[in-house]
Symmetry: C2
Subunit: 281 residues, 2 copies
C-alpha cells in the first residue's frame, strides 16, 4: 500500500516509521510545506519520497492528515475535493469542528476521523520515534458516516501500529479529550509559569527542582502552534474542565486556610484512586 | 561507619542501599515502629540489623531520621536527648518548623538539617531503589548552627550518594520547596480528582488516557501520611504558591472566555522556557 502523510512532524513521522516497519505500507510519501521537514524526513528514511499533494494523491491508497488542527480543517476538504477511491484520515486532537465542516462534502464517506492518543512534548520529524503508538488507544469517531471499506483500511492501519481501537461520537470524544489530555497541558503550562515568575526574584530556585517537578511540567514544553488551535477548537469543553479544576484547587486552598487537614487527607486518599486507572493503561 | 536509619521507607531504604553500596557505611541499622517494614528491609538486605532506638544509637556514628515530617519533629529532640558524639540528620521536606523546635536544644550542634530532593510516588521499603539520589540535589540548612565535624560527615555522606549539595536558610528552603515540589503534588491531586469526578458519569473516559495524562497525575499516587504533614508544616508557603497558581489558571480561563488566543499563545511560549531549566537538571 502506498500512503501519503501530510505533515511530517512527531505524529506523522512516527506513523511513517511504524507503517513502514510493520509492512503495512510499501511506500510512504511525505507532503509538508516546510522543506526542511521533508529533507530531515528523507534523511532519516521516515518517508521514501517527497511530493506535492496532487502528485502524491495520484499514486496513493491512503492519505493521512497529520498537521495541527487549525490546518487539518482546511486541508481535509481540499484533499476530499481531489479524492477518487483513496481513504483519507486525520489524526487531530479535536473532532467535532472538523466533522461539522465536512458534513455535506460529497466525498465525506471516503474520510475517517481518528485520534491516536499518543505523543510526547517534542515536535517535528526529529521527534518521530518507532513504537510511539504501541499499546496506546486510538479513537475512531462517527464511523457510520464513512464507507465500510474505508473504516476497514483505517482499522487495519491502527492494528498494524499495535493500537487499541475505541469508538466514540465526535462530541463525546472532544469532552473526553479535554479531560484526559487538554487540561493536563494547561495545568503544566500554568505550573511552569507560576514557577518561572518566582524565578525572577530567586535565581537559584531551580537548583532544587526534583523528579516530581519535571514530570508535572514536562508537557509545558509542548509546541504552541499545535496546542493553541486545539484549545480554540475545543474551547467550550476545555473551559468546563478548567472551571472544575480551579474549583478543586480552590477547595484545597480553602481547607489549608481553615487548617482542615482531615478533609485534606480524605481528598488525597480519593486522588490516590487514580493508581487503579493508570495501572490499567 | 555504622549508620542508624529511623524510618525505612522509600527515602530511608534507598539511603541504606546507597550508603552500603558506596562503602560509606560498613553497617546499616534499621529502626522502625512497623515490624513488617523492618522484616522487608532485612529480607531485601537494605539494613543489616533491626534494633530499638537506644541500642542502635549506642553503636552508631550517624543517625538519619527519615520518617514523615510530623514524626521527625518528635523524633529529632528525642534522639538529641540521647546523643553523645553521634551526628544526627533528618531528610524531611520542610525545615523551619523543625529547626524552630530544636533551636534551644543543648545538643543542637550535633544535628544537621537536610533535604535530599529525590523521590518517587511510591512508599515503603519495597519502593527503595539504588541510585535514587544520583546526580540529584540535596539541601543543607543553617549549617552555621551545626558543629563543623557534623557538617563534614553529612557532606561526605551525600557525596557518597553522588548528590550535589546546596546551602539554604531554612525559611528560604521551605519557600523553594513549596514551588518546586509541594505545589506539583497539589496540582496532581487536584487533576486526579477532577477527572475521577467526571468518571462517575463516563465510565470509559480513562480508556483514552494517554502518556501526557499519566505524567501529570503520577504524583497523585503519593502517600497522604507523608504529604499531609508537609502541607501542614509548610501551609503558609504552599498557600502563597497555590494562590499564584490559581491566578495563572484563572488568567488562562479568562483568555479562553474572551477568545484571546494571541495572548494565550504568548503565555505558552513563556511556559516553554521551562525547557531550559529542565535540561539543566
Amino acid at each position: 500500500m502506498t500512503i501519503t502523510i501530510v505533515g511530517i512532524g512527531l505524529i506523522g513521522g512516527s506513523m511513517g516509521i511504524g507503517l513502514l516497519e510493520s509492512g503495512f505500507a510499501k511506500k510512504i510519501i511525505g507532503v509538508d510545506k516546510r522543506e526542511e521537514h521533508l529533507n530531515k524526513a528523507l534523511r532519516r528514511k521516515i518517508i521514501d519520497e517527497a511530493m506535492d499533494l496532487d502528485a502524491a494523491m495520484a499514486v496513493s491508497d491512503v492519505v493521512i492528515i497529520a498537521t495541527p488542527v487549525d490546518t487539518i480543517i482546511d486541508i481535509v476538504p481540499m484533499v476530499l475535493n481531489r479524492v477518487d477511491k483513496q481513504v483519507v484520515l486525520d489524526v487531530g486532537s479535536t473532532k467535532k469542528a472538523l466533522l461539522d465542516t465536512i458534513a455535506d462534502h460529497p466525498k465525506r464517506k471516503r474520510f475517517v476521523a481518528t485520534h491516536p492518543m499518543a505523543g510526547t512534548e517534542f515536535s517535528g520529524p526529529e521527534a518521530a520515534i518507532p513504537d510511539l503508538f504501541t499499546d496506546k488507544c486510538t479513537v475512531i469517531c462517527n464511523e457510520e458516516d464513512s464507507d465500510v471499506d474505508a473504516v476497514k483500511v483505517v482499522k487495519d492501519l491502527y492494528t498494524a501500529l499495535k493500537m487499541n481501537i475505541l469508538h466514540l461520537e465526535a462530541a463525546a470524544h472532544d469532552v473526553h479529550a479535554a479531560y484526559v489530555s487538554h487540561i493536563s497541558h494547561i495545568t503544566s503550562f500554568a505550573l511552569a509559569l507560576t514557577v518561572l515568575e518566582k524565578e525572577k526574584d530567586e535565581a537559584r530556585i531551580f537548583d532544587m527542582a526534583s523528579g516530581g517537578f519535571s514530570s508535572t511540567v514536562r508537557l509545558a514544553k509542548s509546541n504552541p502552534k499545535m496546542w493553541v488551535p486545539i484549545f480554540k477548537q475545543n474551547r467550550d469543553n476545555v473551559l468546563d474542565v478548567l472551571d472544575e479544576h480551579i474549583s478543586v484547587l480552590s477547595q484545597f486552598r480553602s481547607l489549608l486556610i481553615k487548617n482542615n487537614f482531615d478533609t485534606f487527607e480524605e481528598l488525597i486518599c480519593k486522588a490516590n484512586e487514580i493508581e487503579r486507572i493508570l495501572n490499567n493503561e
